[in-house]
């Protein structure tokens, strides 16, 4: 293992190189560009033996990855924001075709107004596309997720595309110290891609077909159960990962000091680090607070959330997203998890960091202060309408 000083984008690219994809097809877009540049450099200098295909759009990038996957190749692409939306037609296509493509998405605001900075409205708008969705907190987790995403997506029980999300700039462009595994370790962890779901001259079959009203539900049910299998496969992948690399991950979610917490803040992505530090600070002052980080939005960790918050008095959901006319989508999902588990406590929604707006330590402390009031509110950080 080598200690390197890398940005989140670079760390993810290093992880992809270790996974040895056969085909990379991508179109550059800020703040994802560095991943694509780095991978093309790796192909150029011979350190990655991969077919790098320069496509003319994101729609083509994913179409191309589907073509590659359909002949049994390991395929990678990356995008962000408007690029993800331009690609949107192909997202359920890849999921329904059960092509285990891995895509990195650099979370970025969507237009208008035009904005290239980070929020999570791009990926969260595509939750229903059938893809696995994971969110990294830091550059090390980004690299590790790059490697694990192929393992999980390609697992026979899953066979579903994987979207690994990194907060734009705050994670993609921030430099950190990262342990980069050796190729030997990576090869021990990640087996070569094998699938029955491919075009083959020796075993010809029909892929990408139509399914009318009589059979469609069956395919969609299988797609759904494939995603539900992700929970057990993540556990398997993380256990194997830890035995080889020594780093421990905690499945679909991470609980931090939630066991005896009265007030718990639920987060997604890179803001979690600041919330963790705030929890430590408030705990020193005797406040019973905790952090619950969602690592996977699909499959959604209903059971994990219910278990973590069942003894809490209030829950806040902090997200860089708003489903206009309603509330943040993570909040909607969390409330559903609590309702199904028969948990009736105050839940509030904090919409922050839109278009890259800095979220300060004071704002997190204010959220915990407000959670004590045990009200249920939807509030935009920095917009004082009470």
């Amino acid at each position: 293992m080598a200690r390197e000083f890398l940005s989140g984008n670079e760390a993810f690219a290093y992880g992809v190189r270790l996974a040895r994809p056969h085909v990379i097809s991508a179109y550059p877009i800020t703040p994802q560009t560095i991943v694509v540049e780095k991978l093309s450099e790796f192909v150029e200098d011979g350190s990655l033996k991969s077919e790098f295909i320069h496509v003319e759009s994101e729609h083509s990038a994913l179409s191309c990855a589907m073509g590659a996957s359909s002949v049994g190749a390991r395929a990678f692409t990356a995008t962000s924001s408007q690029g993800l939306l331009y690609m949107a037609e192909c997202l359920p296509y890849a999921a329904g075709g059960r092509f285990p493509i891995v895509m990195m998405n650099a979370n970025r605001s969507t237009a208008l107004p035009w904005n290239i900075y980070g929020d999570q409205r791009d990926s969260l708008s595509q939750l229903d596309s059938g893809w696995i969705q994971a969110y990294a907190e830091n550059a090390q987790e980004a690299l590790d997720l790059a490697l694990m995403s192929f393992y999980i997506a390609e697992h026979q029980k899953v066979s579903t595309p994987f979207m690994a999300n990194l907060d734009g700039f705050v994670l993609t462009h921030t430099y950190e110290v990262v342990d980069v595994p050796t190729q030997e370790q990576a090869d021990e962890f990640l087996p070569p891609f094998k699938t029955e779901n491919k075009m083959s001259l020796s075993n010809p079959k029909n892929l990408g077909f139509s399914a009318g009203p009589d059979t469609n539900t069956f395919f969609k049910y299988k797609e759904h159960t494939g995603l539900l299998h992700v929970r057990e496969v993540v556990a398997e992948a993380e256990s194997k990962f830890e035995s080889i690399f020594g780093r421990h991950y905690t499945g679909l979610t991470e609980s931090y000091k939630t066991e005896d917490a009265d007030d718990i803040l639920i987060t997604l992505g890179s803001i979690s680090g600041l919330v963790r530090e705030t929890v430590d600070k408030l705990r020193e002052q005797g406040e019973k607070v905790g952090l619950f980080r969602i690592r996977y939005m699909r499959p959604f960790p209903n059971a994990e959330i219910a278990k973590a918050v069942k003894n809490a008095k209030a829950v806040g959901v902090l997200e860089k997203d708003i489903s206009f006319g309603n509330e943040g989508t993570v909040y909607t999902n969390v409330n559903s998890a609590l309702q199904k588990a028969g948990i009736s406590i105050a839940t509030s929604n904090y919409i922050g960091g839109l278009g890259g707006k800095n979220i300060s330590p004071q704002e997190i402390e204010t959220i915990f202060e407000e959670l004590k009031e045990k009200r249920s509110v939807v509030r935009f950080l920095g917009v004082e309408v009470r």
């Binding site: 000083f5 950190e176 600041l274 300060s360």
Partner: protein
Amino acid sequence: MKEIIWHGRGGQGAFTAARLLGEAYSLRENTFVLAFPSFGPERRGAPIRAFTKLDTKPIGNRSEIAKADYSIFLDDTLFSEQALDELKPDGKILLNTKAKIDNERVITIDGDSIAEKYLGLPITNTILLGALAAVSRIITLDDLTEAVKQSMPPRLHEKNLAAVRAAYEEAGK
């Protein structure tokens, strides 16, 4: 945790300095770093900020630095007395200027003259790093030398290392 804010104009290399400082510090075992620019319009001449956070334990707070141990100005046209508000109680400003500033919390260095002599360009980011190594215990000249070698193209090594050393000696006087 040590927190450093960099002020410069687009093209002066403030983010490169923030990253180099992080890289120099990360050469030691059990160190943790975040180095990032302010995320705003990036164009030549526009004021930009960059941030370096250094610690011996993991750093979770990715928000911009509000109070710094050192606030470093590559360009004195960006400096005003208000800059003192973004310092910790013991914090100091390191300012590239030919002017004399009568404030014990403001350390000045004529980085432009050093840049002129050693680089032939008005780029002072590595020079201010050399000055930081001289006035603080945050990094050593050796760490800095190693970071320059690891992260800058070889053709830039000799000039920049000479400039860094000259700034280190000048600021250490």
